[in-house]
Every structure is written in structure tokens, then in C-alpha cells.
């Protein structure tokens, strides 16, 4: 029984690095001026496989995205295009570690 527990523990440890981790990105966007404006961009971000939550801060001009970092790798080119299509200008992003919300 003790041997079985040891094997199970070892398996879980081995699997741990492969388990999904969440990463939080803060995207800096120019041109958003009201709650109604930013909704289409939020919707587009939520459609990306692996994105778990999206929150906008109009005051700061940011959109905070929580995503599974195994599935999502944001690139500046991808985000530039996404926000251009929605009528805004992408300025850059920060990866701020684990999701806070």
C-alpha cells in the first residue's frame, strides 16, 4: 500500500509540470472611451481558445486577460491585428504572472 502511494505520488509530481497554468496579461489599448466601445474587443478575446476571463479598465485603458498559458501565446502582431479590426490601437502588453481574478 505504501509502495502504491509512493508510485502515485511520483506520477502526480511527474505530471505537475505538464498541468495547465494560468497566466495574466495586461493589454494596453488606445481609443477605448466607454463601456459600450470595448465590448466587441472583449468578445473577440473571449473567443480565443484558452482565454478564461477578460476584464476592461476604462480608467487605465487596459484589458486584463487570464489565459491558459499552455493554449494561448499572445504575440504583438496578433493583438495589433485583433484590436485594429475592432477599431482600436494596441500599444503593448505585460505578463503579470498568475491570474488575480
Amino acid at each position: 500500500m505504501r509502495k502504491f502511494g509512493f508510485v502515485l505520488g511520483a506520477l502526480l509530481l511527474a505530471a505537475a509540470p505538464a498541468a495547465a497554468k494560468d497566466a495574466q496579461y495586461v493589454l494596453h489599448i488606445d481609443g477605448i472611451t466607454c463601456p459600450f466601445c470595448v465590448a466587441t474587443s472583449e468578445k473577440a478575446l473571449k473567443k480565443i481558445d484558452g482565454v478564461k476571463s477578460v476584464k476592461s479598465s476604462l480608467r487605465d485603458g487596459t484589458i486584463t486577460v487570464c489565459a491558459d498559458d499552455e493554449k494561448v501565446t499572445f504575440t504583438d502582431e496578433q493583438l495589433l491585428e485583433l484590436f485594429k479590426e475592432k477599431g482600436f490601437t494596441y500599444r503593448g502588453k505585460e505578463e503579470t504572472g498568475a491570474c488575480t481574478a
Binding site: T33, F36, K55, G61
Partner: protein
């Protein structure tokens, strides 16, 4: 017999008097995904692949020398972002008009109005932190989808009461918008070239509009503010040329009006409520053409 003669006279005069008031559907705000003026267009964008629906209920009254006209219409506008810079719009309306003349004659009509379709292209854009500036020309046409040969017990209704114009008309203009988290400023010039239908060529319409809106609630933004209430003032100038009937100028048609329009809109993520009252502060209509008393608009915009 005297009454019949009088009525016939009034019926004959009615079309002339109504042109100024019923001078075509208003190309109201090209419902973008931004806070925008209530009575006209904005240059701010509709995202690629996004739909925006705007619906306004508009009630107006006009009168002169004991004759009064009321106009109630529901105007629905659907916008679609074809590309980041090009948006297509289509608007359809249902309307009802009632007229009561000084002699006691009452006539009315209702039905679907003319459809407008137009495109708006963003010619210049500049985004900055918490704000945006856009310049966008637009052009389109008004199609004669509304009925324009309606009749009642007295015969065919005058053109000013008909829901449709019967003519294919051209629309063009340009709009400039500057928006920030605290305020929005918009300006528009608009031209409608009216063509001849049923022997009648309504005067062309020129409009110039400006709007200033300021956020009144919340006073201070938090990181995740959910809704904005904007209050402001719009100024609407409208000039309509004289109508020609079988080539003859109607002296009782056309004119110009200047409105002051206080308005409000409350914006959430997926919808926006709006309302405004247009008050004429200066009017000069030709001959006995009716003068506008007021116009009230309430509406909703939805991000689909």
C-alpha cells in the same frame, strides 16, 4: 357646398404646407460602438464583423395658422463593420402622420417609410490613451420603399402625408468625432439630393450639426466602471430648398430651422439608452410652410 369648396381648397394646399416638415427621413446617428450624438452621425468605428442595432422612436409636431401636423416614427438602423474602416448601414422606418387643418379637416396615414442604405469610410483615425479622433465621409441612397400613393375617403393623400417619397435620392456627408472618457465632440455636414417622383421634386436638404457631451456619472472612474451617463447639447441646422411641382416652384415650401437639442445617453457594455428633445430656436420657412414646434427622440443601441 361652401364647405366642400373650402375642403377642396385646403386639400389642394396641404401638400405645399407639409414639405418642410416631412422633408425625408433623417439620417440619424450611424450607430457606432461608441457614445454618439442622438440626432446625427458619429465617425467612431464599428468593429470588423460586428453588428450594431439602433432603434429610435421619434415624435414631432409642426404647425402654422391653425394647421397642425404630428409625425410619429420608429426608425431601426443596423450597422455592420465590413472592415476596420468601412461600415455599412441600413435603416428602415414605420411612421404615422396626422394633420388637422384650421378648417377642421383631419387626414392621416401610416406605413413603412423609405429605406436608406449607406456606407461610411474612416478616412483618418488617431487613437490615444483614453480617447479617439476620427474623420469619416459617408454616402448612400434613399430608396422609394415607402408607399407614396395612399388614399383616404377624400382621395389621394398629399405627398407630405405619404409614408414614402417615391423617389431615389442621394445622400452624402462627412462626420468628425473626438471622444475621450470625459467628453465627446462631434460635427457633421450632410447633403440629400432629392429627385423627381410623381411630378414632384422636393427641395434638396443640407444639414450641419454639432454635439458636445460630457460624462456626468460617475464623476470619478474606478478601475472597472460599468456604466457611463453622458449629458450634453446638440445644435442642428437644417436647410431645405423649395419644391418644384411639374417644374413650377412652390412658394410655400422649404426654409431653414436651427434647433438646440439637450440630450442624455447611458452606456453599458452591451446596450445604450438615449434621449433628446429638439427645440427650434430660429426658423424661417417659406410662405405658409409649417414650422416645427418640437421633436422628441428616445432610443436604444445594442451590440449584437
Amino acid at each position: 357646398m361652401a364647405i366642400a369648396v373650402s375642403s377642396a381648397f385646403k386639400i389642394k394646399r396641404l401638400p405645399h404646407r407639409l414639405f418642410g416638415f416631412a422633408g425625408g427621413l433623417v439620417l440619424f446617428g450611424c450607430g457606432a460602438a461608441f457614445a454618439a450624438p442622438v440626432t446625427f452621425n458619429t465617425a467612431l468605428p464599428v468593429g470588423k464583423g460586428a453588428f450594431v442595432l439602433r432603434n429610435q422612436l421619434i415624435y414631432s409636431e409642426a404647425s402654422r395658422n391653425g394647421t397642425g401636423l404630428s409625425d410619429l416614427r420608429d426608425v431601426a438602423l443596423l450597422g455592420y463593420g465590413l472592415s476596420p474602416d468601412l461600415a455599412l448601414f441600413g435603416s428602415a422606418s414605420w411612421l404615422r402622420r396626422d394633420v388637422d387643418t384650421a378648417s377642421g379637416l383631419s387626414r392621416d396615414a401610416d406605413g413603412l417609410g423609405d429605406v436608406q442604405v449607406f456606407a461610411r469610410y474612416t478616412a483618418y483615425r488617431h487613437d490615444f490613451s483614453g480617447g479617439a479622433f476620427r474623420v469619416a465621409p459617408f454616402f448612400g441612397i434613399e430608396l422609394p420603399t415607402g408607399e407614396n400613393r395612399k388614399r383616404d375617403s377624400l382621395g389621394q393623400l398629399p405627398p407630405g402625408l405619404q409614408p414614402g417619397s417615391g423617389s431615389v435620392d442621394g445622400l452624402a456627408g462627412a462626420v468628425v468625432s473626438w471622444a475621450s472618457l470625459d467628453m465627446n465632440i462631434d460635427g457633421q455636414v450632410f447633403w440629400q439630393e432629392n429627385t423627381k417622383a410623381n411630378g414632384i421634386n422636393k427641395g434638396d436638404v443640407f444639414k450641419a450639426d454639432a454635439a458636445f457631451y460630457r460624462r456626468v456619472y460617475p464623476r470619478e472612474l474606478s478601475a472597472y466602471t460599468k456604466g457611463f451617463l453622458f449629458g450634453g447639447l446638440e445644435v442642428n441646422y437644417r436647410h431645405e430648398g423649395r419644391t418644384r411641382m411639374n417644374g413650377v416652384i412652390d412658394p410655400d415650401s422649404g426654409g431653414e430651422t436651427l434647433f438646440l437639442t439637450p440630450g442624455l445617453h447611458y452606456a453599458r457594455r452591451l446596450w445604450m439608452l438615449e434621449g433628446a428633445v429638439q427645440i427650434p430656436v430660429a426658423q424661417s420657412t417659406n410662405g405658409t410652410n409649417l414650422q416645427q414646434d418640437f421633436s422628441v427622440r428616445i432610443g436604444i443601441r445594442i451590440n449584437l
